[in-house]
């Protein structure tokens, strides 16, 4: 295995949890809901995902447990922020704090256990293709699933009527409501989708990335996913670029240190964040005609009866 191939494989693995979580949050935000609880949903997904896999011996059951846990967490958010019209920012932050504590509680009995990680795919013929085979056909299934998910989300948002309605709810909830669309129900499904993705992203960590559970193992990846949605200016295609760019800079800075490039490691560690900020500035400068954020993002909607 060549060094470049090894680096690309590491980038794929590092980017996948970010891409999964960010894809869910993108749909949530497109429906006009800002859920800052991604980190909390992820870490609970990690705890439950590992627990499920450890108890059942099946990675797929683990992943499903992670998804269900994420959805349950997101329902708490939906109840507060949509049902009771509580401030979304505060609710999201509370959800993160809750998730960090809850995951420690759930995961306590799994700490120190280990599982065999999700297997890498092997398709005879295809995986053996030199150079690209391992990259295109030889990672774990989550990697390709995350890309398929982004493609699916893009298709849903821009090629289906339901996607159009979801975006309408996010851009102008009053109009969507006036046209007879159930804004709150649409938003609830969007929040649940976000929770499912965050739960799966969290579960990816102990199921495939580092196959054990330790409290706090998401280490801020949920926050990065949130930033990536803004970075991508709420467009699924750009989300892929953003996630892989972030993953690539993260991995490359580690390699640069190993090669002994004479740049302080503190600066190196900050590079992924710097790169994100710079690209963000460039995108917003290149754009004409205001923000691309969903117009009703983060606003509370209470239907008049």
């Amino acid at each position: 295995m060549g060094l470049i191939e090894a680096i690309i494989l590491a980038v794929l693995a590092a980017s996948t949890p970010l891409l999964l979580a960010a894809t869910g949050e993108l749909v949530t935000e497109r429906a006009g809901v800002l859920n800052l609880g991604v980190e909390g949903m992820m870490i609970v997904g990690a705890a439950c995902g590992f627990g499920g896999a450890w108890l059942s011996g099946s990675i797929i059951i683990g992943a499903l447990c992670g998804i269900v846990a994420g959805v349950l967490m997101s329902l708490i958010f939906a109840l507060m922020a949509l049902g009771l019209a509580v401030n979304q920012v505060a609710t999201g932050l509370a959800l993160t704090i809750l998730g960090v504590g809850l995951s420690g509680l759930i995961g306590a009995r799994f700490v120190g256990e280990k599982i065999s990680p999700a297997p890498h795919l092997y398709i005879p013929g295809l995986t053996d293709i030199p150079l690209v085979g391992r990259i295109l056909f030889g990672e774990d299934a989550f990697v390709y699933l995350s890309l398929a998910l982004v493609a699916g989300v893009w298709f849903f948002l821009y090629r289906t009527r339901a996607g159009l309605i979801l975006r309408a709810a996010g851009d102008n909830h009053a109009s969507a409501h006036a046209l007879g669309y159930p804004v709150l129900r649409i938003r609830m499904f969007a929040v649940m989708f976000g929770g499912a993705c965050a739960g799966l992203a969290g579960a990816y960590l102990p199921l495939a990335y580092t196959p054990f559970f330790i409290p706090g193992m998401t280490a801020g990846r949920g926050w990065i996913a949130l930033a990536l949605v803004v970075f991508a200016s709420w467009l699924p295609g750009r989300l892929v670029i953003g996630a892989y760019l972030f993953g690539a800079v993260t991995i490359l800075q580690l390699h640069a240190q190993g090669w002994g490039v004479g740049v302080p490691s503190q600066l190196m560690s900050a590079l992924p964040y710097l790169a994100t900020v710079i690209v963000l500035v460039l995108i917003s400068r290149a754009r004409t005609g205001g923000s691309t954020a969903p117009a009703a993002l983060g606003t509370v909607f209470v239907p008049d009866r």
Binding site: A10, A14, T210, P215, A219, S265, M268, S269
Partner: protein, 359 residues
């Protein structure tokens, strides 16, 4: 994101009946501030083991409270003060980054005794304590040089502070006694704990040709990556052999129990005074995990080295120590570098082909 867990809850419930008789106020209250979660299987986990060992020793004479996930820096001041205000008479702050906040709170609460781990600032009511982890690193260096086929070691470092730098130097000094041309690749993770990033760093080191991985970060992720790739590795802080049964060579384990017992005893007896404690293999603060996955001759060599360091016959930083610039480092301890030089170490020894970040 700070989570507060009152460890004493269970103890209080258990002694609930006793509240009517002997009051809980008779008990000595001891507080702990932890950097990570108690389940990190590394640094914080070992401190908590020490706390539990101490509790077992004193039974119901002592009551403990701990705050976990307390981030370093100014933010920790509130947590430390919270413990002081809650009536804890002895407070252990268990990470380097709590140094200034501990000092500040100590000045504010002159009647409370503080113990800060791995720092160098003391006061009338503030002690410091640490482990001579570099002694273990020296042994690891010898093992690593014996076991590495490529002659390239991979080192995942956390922050460029003296403790970490002296660990890298001790490793290399040990390794050079076996193979003078040994190379080390160092990656700074700039975090103590991020399993994903530690795993990525381990992958990068292995992809670049290192075949023995050592870490100064806290999670077992690097061990697991090394195991996956069929390389060798050293654990950190605690026993990690579960994550690499065919991978772990040994692990430097922090064993704080004896120290916590000694200090709490002093507090109970009223003989506590500000001290600077720095114990190693001899005082059993630093303990080596069993030597595994190596041939008998390497194991024997490791055991002999451990015995020699324990008896004081072998000093990892014995003079002459040659710096990266090829010049001899001033020998303040007579035959070896003195403690101050090790505690403040900010240079690499000859043979490390890298620069300390930010220097």
């Amino acid at each position: 994101m700070k989570k507060i867990l009152i460890a004493a809850t269970a103890a209080m419930l258990a002694t609930g009946a006793g509240l009517f008789g002997a009051s809980a106020a008779d008990k000595l209250k001891v507080g702990f501030i932890y950097l990570g979660p108690v389940g990190d299987l590394g640094w914080t986990y070992q401190h908590d083991l020490g706390r539990l060992t101490m509790l077992k020793e004193f039974g119901d004479k002592v009551e403990t409270t701990f705050l976990e996930n307390v981030s370093e820096g100014p933010d920790s001041e509130r947590s430390i003060e919270q413990l002081a205000r809650a009536g804890n008479k002895l407070i252990f702050t268990t990470s380097f980054g709590y140094m200034e906040p501990t000092l500040k709170v100590a000045k504010k609460y002159p009647n409370v005794h503080f113990e800060h781990a791995t720092g160098y600032k003391r006061d009338k009511n503030m002690s410091t304590y640490s482990g001579r982890f570099y002694e273990g690193r020296y042994i690891q260096g010898i093992i690593a040089a014996k076991m590495s086929k490529a002659g390239v070691l991979g080192y995942i470092a956390s922050f460029p502070i003296p403790e970490v730098i002296s660990g890298i130097n001790a490793t290399m000094l040990g390794a050079q006694t076996i193979n003078p041309n040994i190379k080390v690749k160092i990656i700074w993770a700039n975090t103590w704990f991020d399993p994903g990033k530690e795993a990525d760093a381990a992958k990068a080191l292995i992809d670049q040709g290192a075949d023995v991985i050592m870490q100064h970060t806290d999670s077992p992720a690097p061990m697991q990556i090394a195991s996956e790739r069929g390389k060798l590795a050293f654990g950190q802080d605690s026993e990690m052999i579960k994550f690499g049964p065919k991978t772990q060579l040994t692990s430097i384990m922090d064993n704080w129990g004896p120290y916590y017992i000694e200090r709490v005893k002093a507090e109970l007896d009223g003989t506590w005074k500000s001290e600077d404690f720095w114990g190693g293999l001899k005082s059993k603060i630093v303990v080596m995990a069993p030597y595994t996955n190596m041939p008998d001759d390497v194991k024997k060599l490791a055991e002999e080295t451990e015995a020699a360091i324990t008896e004081g016959k072998l000093l990892p930083f014995k003079c002459p120590v040659i710096g990266q610039d090829g010049k001899e480092v001033e020998c303040k301890g007579g035959t070896h570098l003195d403690d101050g030089q090790v505690l403040g170490m900010n240079f690499y020894v000859k043979g490390i082909d890298d620069k300390i970040p930010g220097k």
